[in-house]
């Protein structure tokens, strides 16, 4: 049936959107960290200089590609899954994935207050969609 996607199709769409978002955000965060404070770059070489600095970062381009794919994957997901399921499910999965990936790959100090925040945000986002 076209109007009733299977659970597998629903969750692979949601999982795909979340996975693309995690890869994209962590890659972009890595690119920005490497680049340094954008406000300072903008003060030094103006907005065009800041845009040039961002666009010439290969890590950023990979991340942006993932976010673009994420955007279209989300449009696709929204057409087969209700927003009330797709939004909280992708948001929660993305939060958890981001926190784990930020700790593993960006070596961020994800301390207990940040883990607690991830947990609260996930539960909060699910409750908000009720």
């Amino acid at each position: 049936m076209m109007n009733a996607p299977t659970a597998l199709r629903t969750w692979s769409a949601i999982g795909g959107v979340a996975a693309l978002a995690v890869v994209g955000e962590v890659t972009i965060a890595a690119a920005m960290r490497k680049l340094g404070d954008l406000d300072i770059i903008r003060e030094r070489s103006g907005l065009p200089g800041a845009i040039r600095a961002v666009l010439s970062s290969p890590l950023f381009l990979v991340g942006a590609l993932c976010m673009a794919l994420n955007f279209f994957a989300m449009l696709y997901a929204l057409s087969i899954v209700d927003l009330s399921l797709a939004a909280p499910a992708t948001a929660s999965l993305t939060y958890i994935g981001n926190a784990v990936a930020a700790k593993l790959f960006l070596h961020e100090n994800v301390d207990s207050r940040r883990w607690l925040a991830v947990l609260f945000v996930c539960v909060g986002v699910v409750l908000l969609s009720h």
Binding site: M2, N3, E25, V26, I28, A29, M32, R33, L35, G36, D37, L38, D39, I40, E43, V54, M67, F71, F72, L75, Y76, L78, S79, I80, L83, A87, A91, Y95, N98, A99, A102, K103, L106, H107, E108, N109, V110, D111, R113, R114, L116, A117, V118, F120, V121, V123, G124, V125, V126, L127, L128, S129, H130
Partner: protein, 146 residues
Amino acid sequence: MKHRLKASQYAILVAVMLTASIGDTLLSRGMAQVGSVDLQHLGLLWQALFNPYIISGIVLLIGFFASYMTALSWADLTFVMPATAFGYVVIALLSRFWLHEHLSIYRWTGIALIVCAVGFVAGGPSRTEHESENSELDLMDSGVGR
């Protein structure tokens, strides 16, 4: 405290909150008009790019992208994340006080949880210090870099 945020940096975080949530809302409204897209009708995605809601949603999401990247250039990913979640709270509160929609106890609980999460993270440092960056950051903190 080291790495205390400036007023302009708080403004960027507020922009992250507002653009993401309002942009997403516009996109979902636009997609509701375009209709269901499946693998046989991917052309509908192209059509979607001409819907006014989708266009304004995309403009806001570009603004989100710019402010989000600026924030990530001076703060941790796990520090900025709750700011995006706070956008959902903004949407819920707008629907309550502007559209006068009823908010269930579940939603109020969700709002309270996300507000707590923002509080937890905002109380801590905005950035993890790494050995290799320390000298550079100290330079910035002392104001020499400006």
